[in-house]
């Protein structure tokens, strides 16, 4: 195998594929990227056994062939090569290794044969649809921060994606929760996704997909799903991931529908106030939100350091409520509100609060309070 490729193309491709390779692996070949030169293209593939990514990039092929080489090291090498240079990659060199040459730099990396490299893709995935790249980015951004990282509740370690009938309209709904907060976002159901029953896409896969979408220049991406796999593809990139084998809880039952104490406040002013007041919370992360007639007060106190309050104008005409929240959770949610005002639907200081954008009903958040 021997080919020449522009350093910028190679770097972009390697940045995608090396990202899913774990830093430490018990199976050596999983640390490697599979490189195959064939038909004027190079096929790069990496996997951690749960996710597989393939990216095809054009190159000048001198001799076809395939091997695997350490992904992170190859990426680090290419990253440090001169911008605008060409890179020549050849295998096997005189030491039976992979050689990387660019200008006066020359590297040699050990390899493992392609026959040891596992392939997890290849299944037929029955549910296929196209989704707008921007819609998918928004759905991920509005939900992924709420996914749990607690391993014991593995069925919450990802995004729950399903088709849902909302009256006469059909939506693609994405939900994530760690038990402290729940995020639920939806967009019009893409054609072909009607049969999408609930699947849980692992958090790591979601974050990888999100990173890839930032580099995508196409307006739509293809998604394919089965009971146990999801595949997303656009341009020359295909990412296949196993799904979480679990049942997502009946989330709709924990979204309150009768919280009748409504507070509306400018989201930017609120986020800034929470951010300022939270300085004195230190480790506890607890801030208080006290509602009163047409105003809301954000307060925090720390027995050793001091206290802080900030009062904001708001729309509110019910009995006062004093509720504690983890300020980080609150800021995460407020960061996703793109309209001018945010609505809090409250019922009591120990009950779940529903939060949404006053000008957009396509996402709602449920935040559990803190006892302060």
């Amino acid at each position: 195998m021997k080919f020449t490729i522009e350093r910028a193309h190679l770097l972009k491709t390697l940045s995608h594929v090396q990202s899913i390779v774990e830093k430490r692996n018990t199976i050596p070949v999983l640390s490697n990227v599979r490189i195959e030169a064939k038909d004027s293209c190079i096929n790069f593939k990496a996997t951690d056994m749960d996710i597989e990514i393939t990216e095809i990039v054009e190159a000048k092929i001198i001799e076809p062939g395939a091997t695997t080489a350490p992904a992170h090291m190859l990426y680090d090498i290419v990253r440090k090569l001169s911008d605008g240079s060409d890179v020549e990659i050849a295998y096997p060199d005189e030491k039976n290794a992979l050689s990387i040459s660019s200008g006066r730099s020359k590297f040699s990396l050990s390899t493992i044969g392609v026959e040891d490299f596992p392939i997890i893709s290849g299944d037929d995935l029955p549910v296929n649809f196209e989704i707008s790249r921007d819609e998918l980015k928004i759905l991920i951004d509005r939900t992924q921060f709420s996914a749990s990282v607690e391993e014991a509740r593995y069925y919450l370690n990802g995004l729950y994606v399903h088709a849902k009938n909302e009256g006469d309209t059909k939506v693609l709904r994405v939900v994530a929760t760690d038990g402290h907060r729940l995020a639920c976002a939806e967009s019009p159901l893409p054609e072909g996704a009607e049969k999408l029953e609930g699947v849980i896409i692992p958090r790591k896969s979601v974050l990888e997909i999100r990173k890839l979408l930032d580099d995508a220049s196409t307006e739509t991406v293809s998604m394919a799903l089965s009971e146990n796999k999801v595949r997303i593809s656009f341009e020359d990139i295909t990412l296949t991931s196993k799904l979480i084998d679990g049942t997502f809880p009946d989330y709709e039952r924990v979204i309150p529908t009768d919280n009748d104490k409504i507070l509306e406040v400018n989201v930017k002013e609120l986020a800034a106030a929470v951010d300022r007041v939270s300085v004195v919370t230190e480790r506890s992360r607890g801030i208080r939100m006290i509602t009163d007639a047409n105003r809301v007060t954000i307060a925090a106190s720390n027995a050793e350091l001091g206290n802080a309050t900030e009062e904001l104008e708001a729309k509110y005409d019910k009995d006062p409520i004093d509720t504690g929240y983890n300020f980080r959770y609150l800021l995460d949610i407020l960061a996703q509100i793109k309209g001018d005002d945010v609505r809090f639907s409250l019922s009591g200081s120990a009950a779940a609060t529903v939060i949404n954008d006053t000008s957009d009903n396509s996402a709602i958040y449920v935040l559990m309070p803190m006892r302060i």
Binding site: L182, T247, D250, S284, V366
Partner: protein, 245 residues
């Protein structure tokens, strides 16, 4: 159970309802419930139009009732609604509508505070008319102290099948099912520990797993022996308090 908070962080958590798999594949048969299981499976060759399954709280009566409704549905050319009703929801106002609309009926939690007149009519309506009722209760129908002699004598004819307190085989299966319903993976060590220290009743084991799950969920900790000890302590403390109330 009230929504508890983590007393170290003050954080409350959302309270998700665990799934409750009521399919036949998930029903464990051991010597304590074998007769009840066989009686359910015997339908439509019951001796009588009605059958009564009785036994302690959380022993699987409702699970059997769901299995019976599945069995009936499978035998029908098209699906029909088979209500699973609480005995206390039946009264003289709704008896006629229910009886006319539903040839198959499950009535749960039979006790002495039922509307006896409504049940007298219900019995007469269903008797001998290709209609079936499954009753569930904590005590045998014949032992429920009812006032209407005509109803008492009728209910006495209905075969009563008991589910007994769990044997060790059942306790093991029940603990595994309850954790499985909550998607919590436990080790053999944890299972053995619970078996060694739990009170040997369906209801206590059910409450214990609920409490273990709640502590683990609230504090974000995997299920472990210290959590089980804490759950056992909490439940025992509550039981002692109940004695004084």
């Amino acid at each position: 159970m009230n929504n508890r908070y983590n007393d170290k962080t003050g954080q409350y958590k959302l309270k998700f309802i665990p799934r409750n798999d009521l399919s036949e594949e998930d029903f464990m048969v051991t010597s304590c419930n074998e007769n009840a299981y066989k009686a359910i499976k015997l339908w439509p060759y019951w001796q009588h139009f009605a059958l009564s399954i009785y036994g302690p709280k959380s022993c699987g009566k409702s699970h059997l009732a769901h299995m019976w409704t599945d069995l009936v549905q499978q035998s029908l050319p098209r699906p029909v609604q088979i209500p699973i009703m609480n005995a206390h929801s039946l009264n003289m106002k709704n008896i006629n509508k229910i009886a006319n609309e539903h040839p198959y009926l499950v009535i749960e939690d039979m006790d002495a505070s039922i509307n006896e007149e409504a049940f007298f009519h219900l019995y007469n309506f269903y008797n001998g008319a290709e209609r079936y009722i499954l009753f569930t209760s904590e005590q045998a129908l014949s032992k429920i102290p009812l006032k209407l002699p005509d109803l008492r004598s009728r209910l006495n004819i209905i075969p009563n099948i008991e589910i007994e307190q769990p044997d060790d085989e059942m306790l093991t299966a029940l603990i595994a099912k309850l954790f499985n319903d909550r998607q919590i993976i436990i080790t053999q060590e944890i299972l053995d520990y619970i078996l060694r220290y739990t009170e040997r009743s369906f209801s206590f084991v059910t409450k214990l797993v609920e409490e273990i799950d709640d502590i683990s969920w609230t504090y974000g900790r995997a299920v472990s022996i210290p959590i089980i000890k804490e759950a056992l302590k909490n439940l025992t403390k509550n039981q002692q308090l109940e004695l004084f109330i």
